[in-house]
């Protein structure tokens, strides 16, 4: 126990250097900004900011990018409550009761409860990461290639089971991502694979290019094709303070939301969206007065908001300890680490403790900053919503294009990003969720490397590899999860969580 506090203290000393505080603030503010603005999410933002971080230290860069992620969770809820526009998918449920509260003139308490809940959840999640990190890292160091491969298979299967939308489509998207990641020179033999002797492809498609294309460009295309007018209903925010009764009603919901979110965040594919939906369902189910939900019940704001923040932070656990991303944002973080010369995995905690603990402690600092800066700035964020989309999207495109070009100053890669944008648009149009694609894209090469190593070490004896105890347990679990997810009764329940 003392170890954990010593480590957190050490991390805090890294996180509160002036540069890192400033970077954390910039990240959190940028995150809030994109959280507020619909039509641009944390994924595209992190991808756009990545090239800007080249000049920073790895710790600073990761602190800033993490700030974008949890900042977006805060920002998304602000607009959900005030103007009924969820800035992020994770705050869709907040519109249900949050906006109703705003209509009843209780926007202030709703915002305050969302912020307090998020802050509380963030604190708990930070401690949880610190507690779980060390033991998980120890376990992970025992893993060989075969175990890693099976763990990734299990991770992908969980991601499929928990993805929103039909299972078959999630499977397709992950496989597409894996297949796309195979374009490159073979790591072991140097043979070109599907590169058609283009030297630009010998390193494969850069993941920034893929992310910018399928998230940045495709999202803009989708928004323009929808051609929807954005309406602005601006409420005056009066009286931020929640009453004692509000706090009494909200606290248990915050607690439950935090627990649920922390747990779901660790699971691959879980993350913020699922946990906010699940928390809302839970609150409604256990409430003595479920009819109040949808009409301004404060629990309906407190629970989901705590849950999505807790989940967005605990999803760092598999990334930091195992080097396996739990969702698409974490996949981007892996890319960021690789760009900064860090190979993600259990050795990070041992070899680069300042990075590991600094990042963890910065999340706590960032959450505290968000609590302080967000409530007074509410008016500013809402005003930003008035920036028309016709000005916004050219600016996003500028950042995307410069971001891609700055990687290798290659025009070819800009054309690739465009191609991925059109591909992503086609997928969106046909209702294929693209987030799992990025997950597969990042995990593909890792899976291949580990599988090939495992086969080489096992001298080609597949049965022997499969019967290693840990490998067998992981793979059998994966099969069970997959079968469960395909059972008709579970499938129905899965759908109802997202239908609410």
């Amino acid at each position: 126990m003392t170890d954990i506090f010593a480590n957190l203290w050490f991390g805090l000393s890294v996180a509160i250097t002036p540069t890192n505080i400033a970077l954390c603030l910039i990240g959190a503010l940028a995150g809030t900004l994109v959280g507020v603005l619909p039509g641009i999410g944390p994924l595209a933002t992190i991808a756009m900011l990545l090239p800007i971080t080249f000049g920073l230290s790895p710790v600073g860069a990761l602190i800033m990018l993490a700030g974008v992620f949890y900042g977006a969770m805060y920002g998304g809820s602000t607009t959900a409550i005030l103007v009924n526009i969820p800035g992020e998918a994770a705050s869709v449920v907040t519109t249900l009761d949050g906006f109703q509260m705003a209509l009843q003139g209780r926007a202030g308490p709703a915002l305050a409860i969302a912020a307090i809940g998020s802050f509380f959840a963030g604190c708990v999640a930070t401690v949880l990461i610190a507690v779980l990190a060390a033991p998980l890292t120890k376990v992970a160091l025992l893993f060989g290639p075969a175990e890693y491969f099976s763990l990734m298979v299990l991770g992908l299967v969980l991601a499929i089971a928990l993805a929103n939308g039909p299972i078959s489509k999630a499977v397709l998207m992950i496989l597409t991502g894996i297949v796309l990641s195979m374009v490159s020179d073979d790591v072991q033999t140097g043979q070109g694979r599907m590169t058609f002797d283009q030297f630009e492809l010998s390193d494969g498609f850069g993941f920034i290019i893929v992310a910018m294309g399928v998230f940045g460009v495709a999202e803009i295309l989708g928004n323009l094709m929808k051609n929807s007018e954005r309406e602005l209903v601006t409420q005056r925010v009066t009286g931020l303070m929640p009453t004692k009764k509000d706090l009494k009603d909200a606290f248990p919901a915050i607690l439950r939301g935090t627990l649920l979110g922390s747990f779901l965040g660790i699971l691959p594919g879980g993350g913020a969206i699922l946990s906010s939906f699940a928390s809302y369902t839970l609150e409604k189910k256990i409430s003595k007065t479920p009819e109040r939900f949808g009409k301004g019940a404060i629990e309906g704001v407190a629970g989901p908001e705590s849950a999505n923040n807790a989940a967005s932070q605990t999803s760092f656990i598999p990334l930091l300890t195992l080097g396996i991303p739990a969702n698409a944002v974490m996949a981007l973080m892996i890319g960021a680490m690789t760009l900064h010369g860090i190979s993600p995995g259990p050795q990070v905690a041992v070899k680069q403790p300042e990075l590991f603990w600094g990042l963890i402690a910065s999340m706590w600092v960032g959450n505290a900053m968000l609590l302080v800066i967000n409530l007074p700035l509410v008016g500013l964020w809402v005003r930003l919503l008035r920036v028309p989309y016709r000005l916004l999207y050219p600016m996003i495109l500028v950042f995307c294009c410069i971001g891609v070009y700055s990687l290798n100053t290659s025009s070819f890669e800009i054309m690739l990003a465009l191609a991925f944008g059109l591909f992503g648009y086609w997928l969106n149009k046909h209702d294929f969720e693209v987030a799992p694609l990025l997950l597969g894209f990042i995990l593909g090469p890792l899976m291949e490397e580990n599988l090939r190593k495992a086969v080489a070490i096992g001298r080609g004896e597949y049965l022997e590899i499969l019967s290693r105890p840990l490998t067998a347990v992981l793979l059998v679990t994966a099969v069970i999860v997959l079968v469960l997810a395909l059972l008709p009764s579970v499938r129905k329940q899965r759908e109802t969580i997202f239908v609410e």
Partner: protein, 208 residues
């Protein structure tokens, strides 16, 4: 090329769920392409998995799953997606003339040609419902082509001007100002402040 609508059942044709069917069809084609492109790569040799083993494994899985989704989409009713033949033909004509110009005159003139035709036929593209993809696509293409010879500021300006026309709310003067502002901003921010190794202005001008 419009947002998914749900037309009456009789307008659906022989596929019950075109949205899933055609979405998965592209992925099936991708899988087939990968299988074809990795034909010459070695598979497993002795204890070692070869360069081609794993791409083929996943391509097979992808193809098989795509087929499954397509098969179920053919028989289970679902939302439809509107495709328009005139729009597809227009895009094909636009791209193929662009390609011809590219062969004859090189990338910069192609970008100029594509931008000019896009604006010339703006009304037509709008009617066909492909205004957004055309203008966004051309804008990014133009940026990629212009950035090296003309520098970042001009490339950004072109990107903003052309992409702004993708929206029906396009306002010429406003975009002009916005384009200049973003061009100046990106030159200052990315090149002066962040030191990215990109030329801000046309390199030809600077070398004199």
């Amino acid at each position: 090329m419009n947002s998914p609508d749900t037309p009456p059942a009789n307008a659906r044709g022989w596929i019950a769920n075109p949205r899933d069917f055609f979405g998965a069809l592209v992925l099936l084609l991708l899988a087939l392409f990968v299988l074809w492109a990795t034909l010459d790569l070695p598979g497993q040799e002795g204890f070692q998995l070869g360069a081609g083993s794993i791409p083929r494994l996943f391509a097979l899985l992808l193809g098989a799953n795509a087929l499954l989704v397509m098969a179920s989409a053919a028989f289970t009713p679902g939302p439809s997606v509107r495709y328009s033949l005139p729009a597809a033909l227009a895009v094909a004509a636009y791209c193929s003339t662009g390609l011809a110009v590219y062969r004859l005159a090189g990338p910069p003139l192609t970008a100029v040609y594509l931008i000019a035709t896009a604006f010339l036929f703006l009304k037509k593209f709008d009617e066909l419902g492909i205004r957004a993809p055309v203008f966004i696509g051309v804008a990014i293409f133009a940026f990629g082509v212009f950035v090296k010879p003309l520098g970042l500021a001009i490339a950004v300006f072109a990107l903003v001007m052309v992409s702004a026309a993708a929206s029906r709310e396009f306002r010429f003067v406003e975009s002009l100002i916005w384009g200049v502002a973003l061009g100046v901003f990106s030159a200052l921010f990315f090149i002066l402040l962040l030191n990215l190794p990109i030329a801000a202005l046309p390199p030809v001008l600077l070398s004199k």
